[in-house]
Symmetry: C2
Subunit: 583 residues, 2 copies
């Protein structure tokens, strides 16, 4: 039988397009006799994640109308095929508010009523996931018969089991299928990308393929919702290798013939590979070198695609066709500019602004200029020297207290934020933030200054990873980024001869200490035992716990690791961390 | 028997103080022969809410050490009393990471091991609550025997039941207690304040007191954690009236003698008053007047206390003793200044800044001056005219495009933000934000401009409620706020003769439309049917859905309603709302 993966790319709640595209697919299947099983992602009908949207009466009313219209449509449809589609099933109160919401698979057969046949059982509720907040858990496994084939169904997280969940849907499904011949295990997913995730998915899918003696079909959505990026990359695999792989980062449809199974499932359950809290949020530190594990070339490639996709999605949804990026002459802004430049589509434009103060070195301009030449991007200079001294004069003529140091540094950064947003307002362009994860973690930025932006590209990448990505880009694109930018010592240039290392440990050690801290795995003592210096560990922990308020008001960060600052990072600001981090 | 309520006020994770205060209480009970039952709030031992803190190894290690130390202490203790204390019970992996976390009641009797006797059953998981993310649900009701008394135990949410929960701990407890004589139902709580909450708690407690034929003991914590304010206001009630009421907004200990019950519990369960999603997030609109329900005097009093308490808590935890507030001559900043002034403690100082542009009317200064005179607060003026024109000149000499309108308005607002934070940096003061909920909902503010601040006092109050609070303050404090501020038409003064009503409906209608929208209850059509004008409803919905990005980067808002912008408001930014709100 033919299995058709529909790896879709739609906007959340865009019911009009979602339902009309689906009806078109059904119409085509009916007319072209595309027999077999058509598979759509988890929550195809609504998009994902929905958060509170799924509680709102206008959302529910609209969805219910489209769903009923689809029902009428499929009842009149003719043909010999089966559609499996992710969607929501509501149980409502008399006044139309939600009592129960289920994340289900709808079965559509021509001439029949739409029917929810399976409810997601394992509702992820860690990190960015809040599904138990909204959805009611399914109680039963589901195996369907279709044209002499037996198909076992799962939704996304169901394929995982874990020591911190109290149910194991794969095990339950296995019990249900014991002794049966299953043609395929089908998983409808809406699974976000992060580093190493594609490999983990395949590994787990192949374990399940082995368990059920049949191919595993994985259908994922494409799209970027605020900080969460869905890569698609759907596949069909047997226990050893992919039989089919869809593109990442764009809609794709592919089909494969899968024969009926001739091998009944064993009586014995294979031991399941571990999927623990520790594994999920493992710290990626090389404990010999005391630095982060290096990113592979494949991973660098994936990350750059993920960031380019994410920034484009955000721009498109927000209606921006122009981008404005502030260049400092340093590494972060150069990488951001390069990635956005590489992502540009027809009809879009990108410009750079350089805003020197009295402390900016001539080299910073030269390097910014060279980068913009390489990328063919317009660069303008807005010097802040005069506004800076005018602001100081205003204060000196009003207040008795003098200021210098941090106060004076912050003025420069905030004037740049103001000018950047004035330009953004003037031409309707999107400001892309240039902070990195290391800076965010230690508060090495100015609130409402260099921390401004509509979205952050590098906020989930440590500084040492920023360098790795820059080197990767240079290796693929003929030294796009001037070597001077990569080799010069990092500096905020907010005072004379400032270097990042004046106040921070070298980035490779800083990043490893942060990774240990942010993945919840290590205490200070654990890190000191690994070989980090006590004084450095203390300094990093202190900087981290003092800067929670800066992270709170930061812009959305494209998430590319299992633990990023953002929606899944939930640490109270109110200084609780001063009490216990010293352990 | 004596029942002692310990309504405590500690910082989250401040284990040193939390455990030493508890040991001191036990020592006192032992020496002073304070017999009977001592009751502490839910999660007294850790504080609440913890969010991801409870997953972190340093937090867990530290907590476990203190817990074991307490255990050793109580084993050596002598006396005749029972302590019931809220805390966490961990089940850990071999490497010390959490496998299961339970929100429990520890029972402490002198000479015995610490013992977790009850696990919270109803884990709230709506709005700001994420307890199912962290905690494992308890399975059983708990009734304990102590000196011929039978005591029934609950933790916080357990006392509620709801159509959207699938368990009902009160009903289960009732089944367990049927035919027994219960002396008291004891509830350990960490329950946030919001408008009408105190009355709802009493009502529900009295229903349970009636059900169990005995007093209901409600022990709540005091504290403000970021946006969430715990009011304390613990009490003991019978089915009709409070037998004891603790102070709100501060630590308090009170005791009451409760006799053994002589009345066995009935066989029949009383019908439970409804607690539905709809009731929880009901819209407080007067549908005749098409305006929000008026706040009662009691509620105004509560809100002002809540805001004063919340801002002080935030300042204390962040180490601020100074406050800086920008005055515009308008209503919001005047109310914020008044509330902070009324909250000031010894050793603290408060100052105001007035930052006029070319569009500021002389009246704005006069009213600001008068207010500061009334409050005896230092006011300084930082005119932005020159910085404003310098910024414009810089743009005109660099870019071809001219600008005016919104771009020009935003510059003024952002220059003010920069100056305000420069002052904050200069003297180490806390900037209190002055935006209100109506502005936030329609995006009527400048990102990084007037929206800056460490914390927002009015972000959960509609503009019409801001006026009610101002009038309440004036009625109690001899016209503290100049009448001219209350009566002048609201204006942002960012262009010639600007009025809020140029771009927004009158606040009373705006606020009601927003309340209908934000509580998820109403669609556009529902509101139009209620009598609101189609054009106004459309305009408000449009402004709302375009401004999600501004709310995302906003500062924490002290929560005083059941639905505030902030952690419990989870709407994707990515423009999903453009699709369905038209229903």
């Amino acid at each position: 039988m033919q299995f058709h993966i529909h790896q879709t790319h739609h906007q959340v709640a865009d019911f009009k397009k979602i339902f009309s595209d689906l009806k078109q697919d059904m119409q085509n299947a009916s007319e072209d006799k595309k027999l077999g099983v058509h598979i759509y992602p988890e929550l195809y009908l609504t998009g994902y994640p929905l958060q509170d949207l799924c509680l709102q009466k206008p959302f529910i009313n609209s969805y219910q109308k489209y769903l009923e219209d689809l029902n009428q449509f499929t009842k009149k449809l003719k043909g010999d095929f089966l559609f499996l589609i992710g969607g929501l099933e509501y149980e409502l109160t008399e006044s139309g508010l939600p009592l129960k919401i289920k994340n289900v698979i709808f079965q559509v057969e021509p001439g029949k009523e739409l029917k929810a046949i399976y409810t997601k059982r394992l509702l992820p509720n860690y990190d960015i996931f809040d599904e138990q907040k909204y959805f009611t858990q399914g109680e039963e496994s589901c195996v369907i018969n279709y044209q002499d084939h037996k198909l076992a169904l799962l939704i996304c997280e169901d394929m995982w089991s874990s020591s911190f969940h109290n149910i194991d849907p794969v095990k339950d499904l296995f019990e249900t299928c014991k002794g049966e011949k299953i043609s395929a295990v089908i998983n409808l997913s809406a699974s976000p990308y992060y580093i190493d995730k594609p490999a983990k998915r395949s590994q787990r899918a192949q374990f399940i393929a082995k368990l059920f003696h049949c191919p595993f079909i994985y259908c994922n959505r494409v799209g970027s919702e605020d900080e969460i990026i869905f890569d698609g990359a759907s596949f069909i695999t047997n226990e050893k290798e992919h039989l089919l792989t869809c593109h990442a980062w764009k809609a794709d449809s592919q089909s494969l013939e899968i024969p009926q199974s001739d091998s009944p499932i064993d009586e014995e359950l294979l031991p399941s590979p571990p999927n623990t809290w520790e594994e999920l949020f493992s710290a990626r530190i090389d404990s010999d070198k005391l630095s982060l594990n290096e990113l592979s070339e494949t991973t660098c490639h994936e990350i750059i695609n993920a960031l380019a996709f994410g920034v484009q999605e955000y721009a498109q949804k927000s209606g921006f066709k122009k981008f404005t990026i502030a260049l400092s002459g340093g590494m972060d802004s150069a990488l951001v500019l390069s990635i956005v430049a590489l992502s540009l589509k027809e009809g879009q434009s990108l410009e750079a602004i350089y805003m020197p103060s009295q402390f900016s070195s001539p080299l910073s301009y030269d390097l910014s200029y060279e980068l913009c030449q390489n990328l063919k991007i317009n660069l303008r200079t807005l010097p802040i020297k005069f506004l800076h001294s005018s602001s100081k004069n205003l204060f000196e003529s009003t207040y008795d207290e003098a200021f210098e140091g941090l106060t004076d540094e912050n003025i420069q950064s905030r004037l740049r934020g103001m000018l950047l947003y004035t330009r953004s307002n003037q031409i309707g362009s999107m400001v892309v933030n240039t902070s990195n994860k290391s800076e965010l973690a230690v508060g090495y930025s100015t609130q409402y200054g260099d921390s401004v932006g509509a979205i952050s590209l590098l906020g989930d990448l440590y500084k040492s990873q920023v360098y790795q990505l820059a080197n990767y880009i240079n290796s693929k694109f003929n030294k796009l980024i001037p070597e001077g930018i990569i080799t010069r010592p990092p500096s905020a240039e907010l005072r004379e001869d400032q270097k990042d290392t004046d106040s921070l440990p070298p980035y490779e050690r800083l990043d490893s200490i942060l990774e240990g801290l942010l993945t919840y795995r290590y205490t200070k003592n654990d890190l000191i035992k690994m070989g980090f210096e006590t004084e450095e560990v203390n300094r990093v922990f202190d900087l981290y716990r003092k800067s929670e308020f800066k992270r709170y008001q930061f812009c959305p960060i494209l998430k590319i690791s299992s633990k990023s600052f953002g929606f899944g990072y939930r640490i109270p600001m109110s200084k609780a961390s001063q009490f216990y981090l010293d352990e």
